[in-house]
């Protein structure tokens, strides 16, 4: 009995301590903006400045992929105020009625965004989303080992790169790449076209060193792979660490992607969320933020505040020509199962 008392009082005491710690974290007066995004996606100082200027707390939580984000939103009760889904995920969320329409009057800085990145097919009137950053899947290659001009996806198939080709670990990216190589849309639902593209990738498999998304940068920097499908932003990072690495958007075109701001249905701080998006689109704030994180800045008005070095980087700032030959990945509906089964074939080497 004595022991029970001791046990109970310890439990009581520890739960009280935990309770105290939990309330001490947030002062009751301030509003909290709950931000849910990718890891390291913002400059810390820019976030702190916003907290100070608007007298709020920002609670920054991270997800590892779009599907995690979707699952969490659908489960409900997550209380996020600003989220950063990618292009196709914006479309999916709109279709499932998970997003709050944006009040553009609260986001006057929206007009600073380059026309190239407004009104894109995944959200035609930007009713629900505002672009944050974009990139293109192209070819990164190491000039030490890869001689001659690289300008086509077909270059990956050259026999001299056997065991040195890196591919993204993503069904839609890899099959989409092969679809572009064969002159089809990267989001086709025509099963004959998909089959042709997959047969092509099976020819490429003996050359493939590894499939990787998160660590493909390290594999290129360490020169484990000589050539591979790499996002433009990652290519910029790789080239900064290993100057021998070059990047090209192949002539057949590549897949373009974007991460966006959106506000989930059921937020309690819609206006504050819009204020945050507007603040981030301020030219000076914007320049500071993107210089720090090293991604592309879609803000036209921010150009004058960017460094020469940043503006000269052709992997961060893709040309109009390069952007013109890119295509967004669109939701393929039921055909996703066809892509997935082929992806299992590719990844397991079985049929």
């Amino acid at each position: 009995m004595k022991k029970m008392k001791w046990f109970a009082s310890t439990m009581l005491a520890s739960s009280m301590i935990i309770g105290l710690m939990a309330t001490a974290g947030c002062s009751p007066k301030k509003d909290t903006l709950n931000l849910y995004s990718w890891a390291d996606n913002f400059d810390e100082q820019v976030i702190k400045d916003f907290e100070k200027q608007f007298d709020v707390n920002i609670n920054y939580d991270v997800f590892a992929n779009n599907e995690d984000l979707l699952a969490k939103l659908k489960a409900g009760g997550s209380n996020y105020d600003v989220i950063q889904p990618s292009d196709y995920m914006v479309a999916t969320m709109i279709k499932q009625d998970l997003l709050e329409p944006l009040n553009k009057e609260n986001i006057p800085n929206w007009s600073n965004i380059s026309d190239r990145f407004k009104n894109q097919p995944y959200d035609p009137d930007n009713k629900y989303s505002v672009v944050y950053t974009t990139g293109v899947t192209g070819i990164a290659y190491n000039k030490k080992y890869v001689k001659g001009d690289i300008n086509s996806w077909a270059d990956l198939w050259k026999p001299e790169y056997k065991d040195k080709v890196l591919l993204l670990d993503d069904a839609r990216e890899v099959i989409g790449m092969s679809l572009k190589k064969n002159g089809f849309s990267n989001s086709t639902t025509n099963e004959d076209e998909i089959k042709k593209a997959v047969d092509d990738i099976k020819q490429l498999l003996p050359s493939v060193l590894a499939f990787d998304t998160d660590n493909i940068k390290q594999k290129m920097i360490a020169e484990e792979g000589y050539i591979g499908t790499v996002w433009s932003g990652d290519a910029a990072y790789i080239a900064a660490q290993n100057p021998d690495v070059a990047y090209v958007v192949p002539k057949e075109g590549g897949t373009i992607w974007s991460d966006n701001y959106a506000i989930p249905k059921g937020t309690k701080h819609k206006e504050l969320a819009e204020k945050f998006i507007n603040y981030m689109l301020d030219p000076q704030v914007s320049a500071k933020n993107y210089e720090s994180i090293g991604y592309s800045d879609p803000n036209d008005k921010a150009k004058e505040f960017h460094s020469q070095e940043y503006l000269a980087n052709t992997m961060i700032n893709l040309s109009d020509d390069e952007i013109a030959r890119t295509e967004w990945l669109m939701d393929v509906g039921k055909t996703l199962q066809v892509y997935d089964r082929y992806w299992t074939e590719i990844k397991s080497g079985r049929e």
């Binding site: 992929n65 599907e67 995690d68 979707l70 659908k74 999916t92 279709k95 499932q96 065991d163 670990d169 993503d170 069904a171 839609r172 493939v208 060193l209 590894a210 499939f211 990787d212 360490a222 020169e223 484990e224 939701d331 509906g333 039921k334 996703l336 199962q337 997935d340 089964r341 992806w343 299992t344 074939e345 990844k347 397991s348 080497g349 079985r350 049929e351």
Partner: protein
């Protein structure tokens, strides 16, 4: 009696909330349908199980079994002599050895796996050393192969095999060995007829632990295998994320759980028949 029942209740509560309930949810979802966004449709279907019998998924299942069994056998072959050596060492040495076996657990598993990448890659430690001393001219291709996956699995799970075998060896009645030697048995015969049967339970426990853990491990195939040799666990992961097909992923999980249970059952059968045979022999 009542007191001892009370002691069990936290475990029962823990298991029902964190094991039985999630498992039940997985089983239920495995019989449901889904729409193209991955939303569950509450209509009964057996399609998710039927899909498993596609030769593609059966092939992946077979690959998973082969890898798991190879890992178990290799772990056993390496661990038994080691455990035997440790169990027969002096008390202080035993402590040191056991400490060394558990030290790797102090370091995060992912970091240890990436350490293998640094060792094995073409510009890695092993290739550099071999090239510098002139044994090879070109880097050996070691990383991103099936061999690297097997190596990574064996490396990761050896402690799970060593420890149960060590415990079994420790608990063994050493007097039996003295008796055997008094009666003129060779050391090999004494090992075969006394030590091995007495440590069977350790071997079984270790084998079950290694087999089930290998079959469920998907990080090693991604990091050391270059994500080129998908195992059942990798397919399950894809179904829950990119493919937005929780019902199929759940069905594969249920099949995986059943496989593990069958393996444990088979191991236990083997163990029991040994005991029974031993009893019959004595009678």
């Amino acid at each position: 009696m009542r007191k001892s029942k009370w002691l069990v209740s936290p475990v029962v509560l823990w298991l029902s909330i964190f094991l039985i309930l999630p498992m039940a949810i997985v089983v239920v979802i495995s019989f449901l349908q889904r729409d193209e966004f991955g939303n569950l449709i509450y209509q009964f279907t057996l399609d998710n199980y039927a899909r498993f019998f596609d030769s593609l998924y059966m092939g992946v299942y077979w690959d998973t079994l082969v890898l798991s069994i190879s890992t178990t056998v290799l772990c056993l072959l390496i661990s038994y002599p080691l455990a035997y050596y440790i169990a027969n060492a002096g008390a202080t040495r035993q402590k040191i050895w056991l400490l060394l076996i558990t030290v790797p657990f102090w370091i995060n598993f992912l970091i240890r796996t990436y350490a293998w990448v640094l060792l094995l890659r073409s510009q890695g430690v092993v290739n550099s050393v071999l090239m510098n001393i002139g044994i090879i001219d070109e880097p050996l291709k070691m990383l991103y192969t099936k061999g690297a996956v097997l190596l990574g699995m064996v490396y990761t799970f050896i402690p799970f095999m060593v420890l149960p075998i060590y415990v079994a060896l420790e608990q063994m009645d050493k007097k039996l060995l003295e008796a055997a030697s008094d009666l003129g048995a060779t050391r090999w015969n004494a090992f075969r007829l006394i030590t091995l049967p007495q440590t069977k339970s350790g071997i079984m426990t270790g084998s079950v632990l290694v087999f089930v853990s290998t079959a469920g491990m998907y990080v090693v195939t991604d990091i050391l295998g270059g994500a080129k040799s998908a195992m059942l666990s990798n397919i399950i992961q894809t179904q829950f994320l990119g493919a937005r097909d929780w019902p199929f992923g759940s069905a594969l999980s249920v099949i995986f759980a059943i496989t593990s249970l069958v393996m444990i059952f088979l191991f236990n059968m083997a163990l029991r028949s040994r005991h029974e045979r031993a009893k019959e022999g004595r009678a």
